[in-house]
Amino acid sequence: MNETLAPMLGGFSAEPILWITVTLVVYLIALKVYQRFNGHPLLLPVLTAVVVIVGILLLSHTPYQDYDHATRFLQFLIGPATVALAVPLYIQLPRLKRLWKPITVALLVGCCTAILSALGIAWLFGASTETLLSLAPKSATMPIAMEVSALTGGIASLTTVACAITGISGAMFTVGLLRLFKIKDPVAQGFAMGVSAHAIGTGRAFQSGETMGAFSALGLSLNGIATALIVPIVLALLGWF
């Protein structure tokens, strides 16, 4: 541990009260900055907050394992928060009934595109097999992607990073990209966001409005299931699993 920070952190270096507080305060500041700059995509709170947190961990010579352990409570809350995604889905029920056909087709096409584009691009640029396997489920929400990756021979923690980059880049660029192609319907935008950029994209979608958020939540939950089913099939067809 660094001499200047060691006495300050003292016995606190692995304590939940330290790291949960730090994470929350850093997130709130990141959120403030994001709002001050009118939601500039490069200032996405999860991105800036992680950069700051990683900086603090490196400067204080805190091993990630300690931080990981101290913040287990936050990670635990991902579970009930995932279950809460049923609420916006339920609110959108009438629309959902009306749109089940476009939803089903777009889901299957989107899920396969996510898996094949990731594998294709990474293969083209010479990624190792382990990396390819870790990338395949990256558009699914993090807990699902990690389990699929572990099941099919990938590296779960590498998949977490792939999910993070996917979610962050989706949250940053999807709305602008779709607008460029004249797709302005919040239902289509939200669904595409959820299928391609899971929970991080959904967080961004909720900031744009309830409808976009709800359809992003729909895309995220359906693609979680679809990815868990389709990745093993695709990898088997390619002879990797």
Binding site: T23, P45, I53, G79, V87, A122, M142, P143, E147, F191
Partner: protein, 118 residues
């Protein structure tokens, strides 16, 4: 109290999901099954309790906050990322852009084909 009821409901649904997944040894996270059970429960009940609506409205816009610790795990992967950063980053960013565009275009195309209803 409504908030406590809502939290209890969310946890019970997740627990049921975890049990379901473990009993059938499915390669799916219990929380995902919990989401589906929760949705089924709301359909069955036919209305949304206010506490649940409030909790969801508070929590969901800050979903990203809960992922900060997992994303910070990038520190464990610095070595591999140094070696394979180009395919890795391109697959994630470009792949995601392609996926979002293809999904949205398919959705809009289907919407037109089905006339936006049925």
């Amino acid at each position: 109290m409504p908030v406590l009821y809502a939290m209890a409901t969310l946890l019970v649904m997740q627990l049921a999901g975890e049990v379901f997944v473990r009993v059938l040894s499915l390669p799916v996270p219990g929380a995902l099954v919990g989401l589906l059970l929760m949705f089924a429960g709301l359909l069955f009940r036919g209305r949304l309790p206010k506490g649940l609506r409030d909790v969801a409205a508070y929590v969901l816009p800050h979903l990203m906050f809960l992922f900060i610790p997992a994303v910070a795990g990038v520190t464990l992967q610095f070595d591999r990322l140094q070696r394979e950063w180009l395919p890795f980053v391109l697959a994630c960013t470009l792949g995601t852009a392609i996926t979002a565009l293809v999904t949205a275009v398919t959705f809009c195309w289907m919407l037109k084909r089905t006339g936006g209803s049925q």
